[in-house]
């Protein structure tokens, strides 16, 4: 039972991480319909810039984290303006944009390795507080992972429901063509979506830097789990992305209670296949449409 409790807590922590990734990915995919695989290395950019700001420039961690988040947002916007927007103008198919995105993924990932080196970057002497709650162990960074989701989800909900730009994102998510017809500047909203989505994803990236360190390839798992969270939760639903993230996180941990851990990396795929098979619109996709 002690193990089950620990696995449940691990699942909630991992789920919070996946949920934030899903929200960030969904913020971009929902309104723009661009399958932005370069989301992965842009996620990594946040961690690397934060690392450089903290270790090379000597900035305090909080300030370095903000610089990392800003860099990720800027990289996201540039990826839209320099890569996706020209394809949009040409009326290229989704497949062409998807392939371009994969190309950008590889280019950015290799560029990070060349610029920063391939060894794991860590913030030295960063020792998280460790809390023993009965049989359960958590660290302060893991608590931050959970808190970050709560904070960002709250702010995002207020932004999407209460601000003009937020409503424009929701309108484009619901129906891009209709949004354009009623006079929404969809290019501007797309820029905003790339900035916001990349910034949201930058937060878990920075926390992963603090927890495990940054590697050039950290974005691969990130974009994959973000994609799974969005598909499981329902494309176009931010609530769905959060619940999808938690579903994957909890299942891949609790599922290992009696199953050997060698099956763990299979679990996310199994969840994805089952959802695609029995509920293709995801858990919340249909309801919101």
């Amino acid at each position: 039972m002690d193990l089950a409790l620990q696995l449940l807590v691990n699942g909630i922590i991992n789920g919070s991480h996946y949920a934030l990734l899903g929200v960030g990915f969904g913020l971009i995919f929902g309104p723009t319909k661009i399958t932005h695989f370069a989301f992965g290395p842009i996620f990594a950019v946040a961690a690397y810039v934060c690392w450089a700001a903290a270790t090379k420039l000597g900035m305090p961690l909080a300030a370095a984290a903000l610089v990392g988040i800003a860099a990720s947002a800027a990289a996201g916007v540039l990826s839209y303006l320099w890569l996706y927007r020209p394809f949009e103008r040409q009326g290229s198919s989704h497949l062409v944009v998807l392939i371009a995105s994969l190309g950008l993924f590889i280019t950015l990932e290799n560029a990070i390795g060349i610029v920063f080196g391939t060894d794991t970057k860590v913030i030295a002497d960063l020792s998280p507080d460790i809390f023993l709650w009965g049989p359960v162990v958590v660290t302060s960074i893991q608590l931050w992972q959970v808190a970050a989701l709560a904070l960002i989800a709250g702010l995002l909900a207020a932004f999407l429901r209460g601000s003009r730009h937020g409503k424009a994102i929701m309108a484009m998510t619901d129906n891009g063509e209709m949004a354009q017809i009623i006079g929404i500047d969809t290019v501007r909203v797309s820029i905003l979506a790339f900035a916001a989505g990349s910034a949201v994803a930058a937060v878990p990236a920075v926390l992963i830097l603090f927890k495990e360190g940054a590697t050039p390839h950290m974005g691969f798992v990130a974009v994959f789990m973000a994609f799974v969270a969005v598909v499981v939760g329902g494309i176009g639903s931010f609530r769905g992305a959060i619940i999808g993230g938690y579903a994957v996180g909890i299942v891949e941990n609790i599922g290992m209670w009696e199953i050997p851990t060698e099956w763990q990396s299979t679990i996310a795929f199994v969840v994805l296949f089952l959802i695609l098979l029995f509920r293709p619109a995801g858990l919340f996709g249909r309801a919101l449409r």
């Binding site: 290799n110 794991t120 860590v122 162990v137 495990e212 798992v221 290992m256 763990q264």
Partner: protein
């Protein structure tokens, strides 16, 4: 007259024999040494280090005149740390574009992929990095100047036995290397009276292993075997200690990369490995370490040492084979040259002896992490 004829015939035979054996060597304009490393992808750290060791050795040998005046050239291909398909593509490029006949290989998957091609094309292979036991004998022409992982793990069990512990928990890479270690150590440990209370698999490249660590913790082992490699070792050490576990941990690798990741949580970690130490009583190792640090700005890892040493092995064998003339630069001739005298100079100090199975026999070192660095404790003769 008859005696004269016999004498003349004997003289003719005496001269004819050496004339055949000493057919002039068919020298290439340059001896190209191929390499198949993980130059990109998640394991590119290895490729960087290995290629640095290789390049340094090539340049050193060339500065000394090459192999009997023939210069060496390093040709490096990328297997991306992936499986056999990338390795096959790489060796095909090395053969068809560059015409190499000696290849330095790394990683178990790609090596197993290229082994049959090496056999078909008479290519000499030397592995200084891969640790999978399946590589032994994978090709007629493969040799290893790297202690294999299962041997190191058996050495780790000897150390554990000497500590008097009985319940083993294991964290292992979920790939052929990790699976082979588990398959090797489990029966040995049980036969020695121990028990295995947890065996948890971590995918190579995983950044999150909290589930696996939680399960090992719940099993409450006396010690934990870390059957994985960088960077997962560093991450595992960190997470095990953060989970509040105090048990001793014994593994088969600890690099500077792991030290960076694990920080203070690595203190006390025991591991066995090929032992490279630059010291005053080992002039070659000292010279190598100084040259490597001067050129690359970092102290050499043993991976760098192995591939540096591997180039010297190939050069030595090419020189030996060349003395016998003919078309000497191929797997058959280089392997034969090695087993004429399987003792070869080692950058680790002294000489290493290549066993009949192709694996160089070196004593391995037991290290303990102190102050973030592996401190040599003693040599272990793996049984």
């Amino acid at each position: 007259m008859e005696r004269l004829t016999l004498l003349a015939a004997a003289v003719a035979v005496a001269f004819a024999g050496p004339a055949v054996a000493q057919e002039p060597p068919k020298d290439p304009p340059v001896i190209k040494i191929g390499a198949i490393f993980a130059m990109s992808g998640q394991a590119s750290w290895y490729g960087t280090v290995m290629s640095q060791g290789m390049r340094l050795a090539v340049d050193e040998i060339n500065a000394k005149g090459g192999v009997d005046g023939i210069k060496l050239e390093a040709v490096i291909e990328d297997h991306k740390g992936a499986g056999g398909a990338e390795g096959v593509a790489a060796i095909n490029r090395l053969m068809s574009i560059h015409g190499v006949k000696a290849v330095m290989t790394s990683f178990t998957g790609p090596t197993l992929g290229i082994a049959p091609i090496a056999d078909q094309n008479n290519i000499f292979l030397i592995n200084g990095g891969g640790v999978g036991v399946k590589m032994i004998g994978a090709s007629k022409y493969i040799v290893h100047n790297r202690s294999l992982a299962s041997d190191l793990a058996l050495g780790a069990l000897q150390v554990a036995q000497s500590m008097g512990v009985r319940k083993m928990g294991q964290l292992h890479w979920k790939n052929d290397v990790g699976d082979n270690i588990v398959a090797t150590v489990d029966p040995v440990w049980k036969k020695a009276g121990g028990s295995v209370v947890a065996t948890e698999a971590v995918p190579q490249g995983a950044t999150n292993m909290d589930t696996q660590v939680a399960k090992v913790r719940a099993a409450n082992p006396d010690f934990i075997g870390m059957w994985m490699f960088t960077p997962e070792v560093g991450l595992a050490l960190k997470r095990v200690r953060e989970f509040g576990m105090k048990q001793p941990m014994i593994g088969v690798e600890f690099t500077a990369n792991d030290a960076q990741i694990a920080g203070a949580t690595a203190e006390g970690f025991l591991y066995l490995n090929d032992y490279f130490k630059a010291s005053d009583d080992q002039p070659w190792s000292k010279q190598f370490a100084a040259a490597y640090e001067k050129r690359w700005g970092q102290a050499p890892e043993f991976y760098a040492a192995n591939y540096y040493e591997g180039v010297y092995v190939i050069a030595e064998l090419a020189g030996r084979a060349r003395k016998k003339g003919g078309d000497y630069l191929n797997g058959e001739r280089l392997k034969a040259a090695l087993y004429e005298n399987p003792r070869v100079d080692s950058v680790y100090g002294g000489q290493m002896t290549f066993q009949a199975n192709g694996v160089a026999q070196k004593r391995v070192g037991l290290f303990k992490v102190e102050g973030g660095k592996g401190v040599f404790q003693k040599f272990v003769e793996v049984k």
